[in-house]
């Protein structure tokens, strides 16, 4: 049997050439950004790896969001190539995962500082990082290329589970739990070797809940009421309880480091926040149990406790703004502090006010499952979680450059200011546009037309809905522009800055 190997050789040569070319590109890029990793400890080098992937996934989130937003206006766009459900799934999954990467990175960022020792299982942490990143890549490729499967268990195990936010196939669920357990081990072992603190204690208990809750969503059930019951355990108790506490922890540490707020003040606030957050958020879960078949008492319990959910967020605003004020906003990293203040307000308005607006069952019966939820979702996820991660990206860049000055009078400060403005303005604009669409849907589809399919489309075809969708795409593009500027700024900020950051001392 003879085999023509010239074709194969050609492919090999091309592959080698491509490899060389991409290596050259990477080297050019490295010499352009001029980042020196020797400024970072090993633990922080692991943190910036997580941050890098987080930024890439943030890009994916915005990109697929724009595709889905376009389909609302031009339904034929990418029809049967990349349908709305694929784009929307990647849009929300990329969001969940980039925020998780950001949180894990943020914890690795302060772990050594807070515990006073090196990360114990650094090698394991690095392996977990690559496994997680590889798994995410594979999941997204399957989402894009395979998309759907037959109505069999194998589809749920290897393609997607078809459940909003936790679509990842079952094999990936197992992987996520393993990665979180490795992360959890690293956190606990490092604090045990070094020293424990109030922040460390809250973080540890929160991570137990975070990993444990995910397991609640890993089972298939025929009974959709039961399935959605457990599904909300994961989604709600993650984003409206454990994630919020995680952000409280990250915020507490950053206020100490950024402004020099005293540990006693920060930790007392953290405990107050945990009490209020879990006190309202755990039973606030009930606002997802109004209409899925669960008993009527959830209308009362869910309505009452979820109405209290904004209170801890008010406390967080007071905490951040008051501390920044008493320290006269004096700090060595203006972009990071600006994003932390944006977090305090974004969390309060997005999660607190926008959540409260439609959380009572008397109004929720009209708004549930309309663009109201999308409006709330956009401002809440961005305000509460994107902002704090971006603040940490700036903290990381500062150290990566060798603790340079990033306070007043920095070069090219317009970039971070414009990125801040465009991103916040873009998301706020989308939020308002979606809110208008939600109002219109609640009135026309729900109240007037009685929620039939005919009513649904009557609302979708209405000019005020159509206009809202156009505005959403416009503000989505603004968000995208802000993202591009943000990345450019992150890569260049502090380059060529000779001044060192001031030393912040705990007061």
């Amino acid at each position: 049997m003879s085999m023509d190997t010239s074709g194969l050789n050609g492919v090999m040569q091309n592959a080698a050439a491509l490899y060389e070319k991409s290596r050259a590109c990477l080297n050019n890029f490295k010499s352009w950004v001029q980042l020196d990793s020797s400024h970072l400890s090993d633990g922080r080098q692991l943190a910036v790896k997580y941050f890098t992937v987080a930024v890439i996934l943030f890009f994916a989130q915005i990109l697929f969001g724009l595709l889905a937003a376009t389909q609302f206006i031009y339904p034929g766009f990418l029809y049967e190539i990349l349908d709305f459900n694929v784009n929307r799934m990647i849009h929300i999954n990329a969001m969940i995962v980039w925020m998780l990467f950001g949180f894990i990175g943020s914890v690795y960022w302060f772990l050594e500082d807070e515990s006073g020792t090196e990360v114990v299982g650094l090698k394991l942490g690095n392996i977990a990082f690559w496994v997680f990143t590889g798994a995410v890549t594979l999941v997204v490729l399957v989402y894009l290329l395979v998309q759907i499967g037959p109505g069999k268990d194998s589809s749920l195990w290897f393609i997607n589970e078809g459940r909003e936010y936790i679509e990842a196939p079952r094999w990936a669920d197992v992987g996520i739990v393993l990665v979180v357990l490795i992360f959890f081990y690293n956190v606990v072992a490092t604090f045990s070797k070094g020293k424990w603190s109030g922040i460390a204690g809250v973080l540890t208990l929160d991570l137990v809940a975070l990993a444990g809750l995910y397991v609640a969503g890993m089972f298939y059930m025929t009974n959709i009421t039961h399935e959605q019951y457990w599904w909300w355990w994961v989604i709600h108790l993650w984003v409206e309880a454990t994630w919020e506490v995680l952000v409280g922890v990250i915020m507490a540490w950053s206020l100490m480091k950024l402004l020099g707020v005293g540990r006693k003040i920060v930790q007392t606030w953290l405990y107050i926040e945990v009490a209020l957050m879990f006190g309202s958020g755990i039973l606030g879960l009930g606002h997802h149990y109004f209409w899925i078949g669960t008993p009527e008492y959830w209308l009362t319990i869910g309505g009452f406790f979820s109405a209290l959910e904004p209170i801890p967020l008010v406390a967080m605003v007071v905490h951040a703004v008051y501390d920044a004020g008493t320290h006269a906003f004096k700090n060595g990293n203006h972009p990071a502090l600006a994003w932390i203040i944006a977090q305090a307000f974004g969390n309060f308005f997005g999660a607190g006010v926008w959540g409260f607006m439609h959380t009572l069952p008397q109004i929720n019966i009209f708004t549930h499952g309309t663009q109201w939820s999308a409006s709330h979702g956009h401002l809440a996820f961005f305000g509460a979680y994107a902002t704090i991660n971006i603040a940490f990206f700036y903290l990381a860049m500062q150290q990566w450059r060798g603790n340079v000055w990033m306070g007043g009078g920095s070069q090219n400060a317009w970039r971070w200011k414009w990125a801040l403005g465009l991103l916040n303005g873009g998301v706020l604009g989308m939020t308002i546009a979606l809110l208008i669409a939600g109002y219109e849907q609640s009135f026309i589809e729900r109240a007037v037309e009685g929620s039939t399919w005919g009513g649904y489309f009557a609302a979708q075809n209405h000019p005020s809905f159509q206009n809202a969708m156009a505005w959403r795409l416009f503000f989505g593009s603004m968000t995208f522009a802000g993202f591009i500027l943000l990345v450019w700024d992150l890569l260049t900020i502090g380059k060529g800055e000779a001044r060192k950051a001031p030393v912040i001392i705990e007061s």
């Binding site: 759907i148 209308l299 319990i301 069952p361 019966i365 929620s451 039939t452 399919w453």
Partner: protein, 198 residues
């Protein structure tokens, strides 16, 4: 005096945080056990799967001030009566198919999901199927070939072809019929079914 009062002390709030969290979680666990026991298939709120053998409607109850599912006389699905186990298998196939086809990232089910396509909670009862005689046939055809049986209501939004087999389509319909019988505390509000008189 420079002492921190009890209510502002770290240890007070630490204890409060622990007790509040533990207490809330305990209540949630108790309520979860209660809710799950009241919503098993075959309970008052979530009927058994064999309900697909019955006529289902959703009517406004003046005394309760909300719409409630109404389960009537026999009305077989695809002209056949199923045992509870057979019915469960059909609903299971349908439910699994809706997940494998990622329906939830366009539609909402029980109001949860994405907002690009209509809610499926009471899809079985929707007037969009024109008449009860045509309903089953229309639904199968639509699910298997949504492009050529498109129901866009003037929106130009078309469901893509999801390579749903006839078996899977029948499963989905069984699942939708069963889901429409769940007591959802009156959601959606003011819904007029295919059974309602104009």
């Amino acid at each position: 005096m420079n002492e921190t009062p009890l209510w502002a002390s770290e240890s007070f709030w630490k204890k409060t945080a622990i007790w509040v969290t533990a207490g809330s979680f305990l209540i949630l666990v108790v309520l979860t056990m209660d809710s799950l026991s009241k919503t098993g298939a075959g309970s008052k709120r979530v009927p058994s799967y064999a309900v697909i053998n019955k006529k289902i409607d959703y009517q406004y109850d003046k005394a309760l001030h909300k719409s409630m599912p109404v389960i009537g006389e026999n009305e077989f699905l695809f002209g056949k009566e199923y045992t509870e186990e057979e019915a469960r298998q059909w609903v299971d196939l349908g439910k699994k198919t809706t997940q494998a086809k990622n329906c939830m990232n366009c539609h909402t089910l029980l109001g949860n999901g994405a907002y690009y396509a209509p809610d499926l909670t009471k899809a079985w009862l929707d007037k969009g199927w024109i008449s009860k005689d045509m309903r089953e046939d229309m639904m199968v055809k639509f699910l298997m070939d949504p492009e050529n049986n498109a129901r866009t209501f003037g929106s130009n939004r078309k469901m893509p072809n999801l390579t749903i087999t006839e078996q899977e389509a029948r499963g989905i319909i069984a699942f939708l019929k069963w889901m429409s019988s769940i007591d959802t505390n009156g959601f959606p509000y003011n819904f007029k079914t295919i059974e309602a008189e104009e």
